[in-house]
């Protein structure tokens, strides 16, 4: 009990300690270090059966509160089956300043189907609200109604959802919207943004559907406003002022990737569907032709990456997206991209493996495959965003890097990041990406022969592409000399292996990119957390709680995983009494990478729950390492 209440305090205590950061900002105009959690912080969970409109209600809610000026992070859980009455949960954490992960405990739980919701009652915090149908149809046996399961300390609200829906709309199809209105009224949220979102969401279905849903929402909202509030569930006035001209949007990781691709002027995309990467391709299938680009669904992932390499060779900005099984098929072609020095961008959204594993669950177990999955010394660039805005930036930056260093770039996401929604502030000053990083060959002098792999100071050779006058050359997967002619002499293979290694080191200084970043206490700390990918949000939350408990603690995210920014990581490790590496795979792939490169001890925290890393597990390890348990 004591531990729980102190955690709650840690979540809501306003604090803005001096942050330490390295390599500049990731978010434009954001204050340095982690942001204090002042203002609103409320988590709403909506649980129902497929067909209840659970996810749709969550979608309206997150868009409406974003429009009202709040920050949102949200993650939906779908049933693995396509049909039937599986469980759907939409969880949204709504805050004044952007939060880094969902909370373990929700403040409000809305049930659209009691049988599915009952097992989740325990996730509602003390004095949190549990909302359910007051007048269920038919007879319920004892224990089938949610009210029988509410825990002492939780506050039940019941509402005749069906009746209200029927009264307002003449049918019960708007139950989810009525209930959503109730939550909005109960939490003192402004009504107008909801009505605007409802209007745009149902535009296609015509004015009658819009009117019905608006009426349903209004009925629920009224009921919510009139309810006597015992509880502290309410919102503080929202919203920090936006940067002038900036626009707030709600995006999930995959949509952010698609947006980044378009803003970086992607021209061709080749892909093969696979969960959880498919929505990148689907979004681009709609958007890319609108921008004059071309997208082709290929016969398999081998063909997809092959076409990307073929298009990259011809000078196109080209990409594909896949998950672990597809990445395995792409391995050979990525090796060709490395030796032939062809730009290519591969978005990999990880899921539980190996093989078909847990295709609808998240995991971070394809790091080794991304770093090494090919043959020979196939050096490449691997970057992993830690949040939705990072997905946008990494997507755009991946094209810059692929072209500047002439090599395949893998952007590693996972299901949790691909599918979670966050409010993203897009800058007004246009896309922050270089649209041409091709490093071109100069026009040749008469009689001069173009050398595709000529050695230069930065080991990057000026590139010519088919169609360039007079620069005819052959690129190849055979070891070759500066002209691209096959040459397998000892000296040549040493030299060219070095070239391919050295040119990538430039990526460690790639401009306007956050390679690593440190948050929390500066200087010496008791515990340092070193993390990558989507798990970093949970790490930050745990770090904030640990600091609130008086533990000196900081966290470093590593966005660039290959080449590894060893100097920055080493400097961080120097400051840490103990180092914790939390990640969602069984053997600790990132910990192995860090230990192998830096020969320093680290403590692994590996979990494979199929969902996000529990913040409590990270916090418990921090306490243990700090000697506070």
């Amino acid at each position: 009990m004591a531990a729980r209440s102190s955690r709650r305090r840690a979540e809501t205590t306003p604090e803005s300690p001096p942050g330490v950061e390295i390599n500049g900002e990731q978010r434009d105009g954001a204050p340095s270090g982690e942001k204090g959690m002042s203002g609103a912080d409320i988590q709403i969970a909506i649980c129902g059966s497929a067909g209840d409109g659970t996810i749709a209600a969550g979608d309206i809610l997150r868009n409406a509160v974003a429009e009202a000026g709040y920050k949102v992070i949200s993650f939906d859980v779908y049933p693995p089956e396509i049909r039937g009455f599986g469980k759907c949960i939409s969880r949204l954490r709504i805050t004044t300043d952007q939060a880094y992960s969902l909370k373990e405990r929700s403040d409000v739980l809305l049930s659209l189907d009691d049988s599915h919701t009952i097992p989740h009652v325990g996730e509602v915090r003390d004095f949190g609200a549990v909302i359910c149908e007051a007048k269920p149809v038919g007879h319920l046996a004892e224990g089938e109604h949610l009210s029988a399961h509410i825990l002492p300390g939780q506050i039940p609200y019941s509402l005749p959802i069906r009746e209200l829906s029927e009264k307002a709309t003449g049918g019960n199809r708007s139950r989810n919207i009525v209930a959503l209105g109730y939550v909005a009224g109960l939490c003192d949220l402004p009504k107008a943004p909801f009505l605007r979102i409802i209007e745009s969401k149902f535009k296609k279905q015509g004015p009658k559907v819009i009117a019905n849903n608006a009426a349903g929402f209004g009925a629920g909202y009224e009921a919510g406003c009139q309810t006597f509030k015992l509880d502290d569930v309410h919102f503080a006035p929202p919203a920090r002022a936006l940067q002038p001209g900036a626009k707030v949007t709600i995006l999930n990781g995959n949509h952010a990737v698609a947006r980044g691709c378009l803003d970086a002027r992607l021209t061709t995309f080749f892909g093969y569907p696979i969960t959880p990467a498919t929505t990148i391709m689907e979004r681009l299938a709609t958007e890319l032709p609108r921008h004059g680009g071309r997208l082709l669904q290929t016969e398999d992932e081998i063909s997809a990456i092959a076409a990307v390499i073929g298009a990259g060779y011809a000078g196109s900005r080209s990409a594909t997206s896949t998950s672990g099984p597809g990445l395995a098929l792409m391995g050979e072609m990525l090796g060709l991209g490395t030796i032939a020095e062809v730009p290519a961008v591969v978005f990999v959204s990880q899921r539980g493996g190996p093989s078909t594993g847990m295709p609808t669950k998240t995991e971070q177990s394809d790091l080794n495959a991304a770093l090494y999955g090919s043959h020979g010394d196939s050096q490449r660039i691997v970057i992993a965003p830690t949040n939705v805005e990072g997905c946008y930036r990494c997507a755009g930056k991946a094209f810059e890097m692929a072209e500047r260093y002439q090599t395949p770039v893998i952007v590693l996401l996972d299901l949790y990041l691909s599918n979670r929604y966050e409010t993203v502030e897009l800058s007004a000053s246009g896309p922050p990406f270089e649209l041409d990083a091709n490093v071109h060959a100069k026009r040749l002098k008469p009689g001069e022969v173009y050398q595709r792999y000529v050695l230069t100071d930065d080991w990057v050779s000026p590139r010519a592409i088919p169609g360039d006058p007079g620069c005819m050359h052959v690129i190849t997967g055979l070891e070759h000399n500066a002209l691209g002619r096959p040459n397998d002499s000892e000296e040549m293979h040493e030299l060219m292996s070095r070239k391919r290694h050295e040119k990538l080191q430039g990526a460690l200084r790639h401009p306007d990119f956050t390679h690593v970043k440190r948050f929390g206490d500066a200087g010496k700390v008791e515990v340092g957390i070193l993390a990558w990918g989507s798990t970093f949000g949970e790490c930050l939350e745990a770090m904030i709680m640990a600091r609130a408990e008086g533990i000196r603690c900081s966290a470093m995210k590593v966005v660039m995983l290959s080449p590894l920014p060893e100097a920055e990581i080493r400097a961080f490790l120097d400051d840490c009494g103990a180092v914790l590496v939390p990640e969602l795979n069984y053997e600790g792939q990132f910990a192995q990478l860090v230990q192998g490169r830096l020969a320093r001890p680290v403590t692994r925290l590996t979990r494979v729950p199929g969902g996000p890393m529990p913040v409590a597990a990270i916090l418990a390890e921090i306490r243990r390492l700090a000697g506070r348990c």
């Binding site: 609108r290 071309r294 073929g310 169609g467 052959v474 690129i475």
Partner: protein, 296 residues
């Protein structure tokens, strides 16, 4: 019967020299075994490109892996020597990226019909506007003489030392049924006809498949040799109608007497046309240049 005009070496050399086609040969000497049928194909391609006045810097020759796939090194165009079996998807990417390029894909029978077999049907049905030259020697040359899916049944190789238990595929029937919009066959032992066919295949707008019978003098002494092929190849009947797929199929079925010439040709929208019409449907601008350069 008229006597054929004799060919004199010095006259022939002078003719080649003055034709301009040597410009299309690279400075690299082919690495093939003397007598390999592939020499005739490099001659045919360079002569066809020269006759058609295709600018070298607008042409891209891509290949897979194999003896045959060394081809791009010997022509003076843009080239990409890719992976075993993957030339078609790479070439598709190149063509989608830049429609204005003239794209030729080359590879061996193992490259195309074994490891790369999964891509054939898709490249053909998409009608991607490239020319695919398949060099059929019925054996794996580069890896020194193993069985290929086009090897004859009973053929003895290092991996089928007693005999090849499999019957060969019929590549022409496959390509016809996959929907290739141009299907033809040529023989390395008939270089002039070969050149003609290459030129036609290049000129066709859409996916053209040219099957080229080409002896491997080193690893096949019994099957697709010059002597054997010379005895069994025939011309397509003079009245062959290349607009009828079923007629072409009937000719292709006679694998024991390979016919040379154009089996089938149809005109239909290419992959590029179809992608452009998607862009138009979406309200985009298809002429948006893939090239993002700011100029020199």
């Amino acid at each position: 019967m008229l006597m054929e005009k004799p060919v004199y070496v010095d006259e022939k050399l002078r003719e080649v020299l003055s034709s301009g086609r040597l410009e299309y040969r690279s400075k690299a000497l082919p690495t093939w075994c003397p007598g390999c049928g592939y020499f005739a194909i490099v001659e045919g391609v360079t002569a066809a490109l020269n006759d058609m006045k295709i600018p070298m810097d607008q042409a891209v020759v891509l290949s897979g892996i194999g003896c045959s796939s060394r081809f791009p090194f010997f022509v003076n165009t843009y080239g990409f020597h890719t992976l075993h079996g993957r030339v078609l998807p790479v070439a598709t990417g190149t063509k989608v990226a830049n429609e204005s390029l003239m794209v030729i894909a080359v590879g061996g029978d193992g490259d195309g019909f074994a490891i790369g077999g999964g891509h054939l049907s898709h490249a053909a049905k998409r009608n991607v506007d490239i020319t695919y030259l398949l060099f059929d020697n019925g054996v794996y040359g580069l890896t020194k003489g193993q069985t290929s899916p086009l090897s004859a049944q009973g053929f003895k190789t290092t991996t089928s030392p007693y005999e090849n238990p499999d019957q060969p595929l019929n590549p022409l029937m496959m390509m016809l049924s996959y929907g290739a919009s141009w299907v033809g066959q040529a023989y390395a032992g008939r270089p002039d006809h070969l050149k003609e066919m290459i030129a036609q295949a290049i000129a066709h707008r859409g996916f053209s498949y040219l099957h080229i019978l080409s002896p491997c003098v080193t690893f096949d002494k019994t099957n697709k040799t010059y002597v054997n092929l010379g005895m069994i190849v025939r011309d397509l009947p003079p009245n062959h109608d290349p607009t009828h797929r079923m007629v072409a199929m009937a000719q292709a079925e006679q694998a024991d007497a390979p016919a040379l010439g154009l089996f089938y040709q149809e005109s239909r929208p290419t992959l590029g046309d179809n992608l452009n019409s998607l862009i138009a449907k979406a309200g985009g601008d298809a002429s948006a240049k893939p090239d993002r350069r700011k100029g020199e």
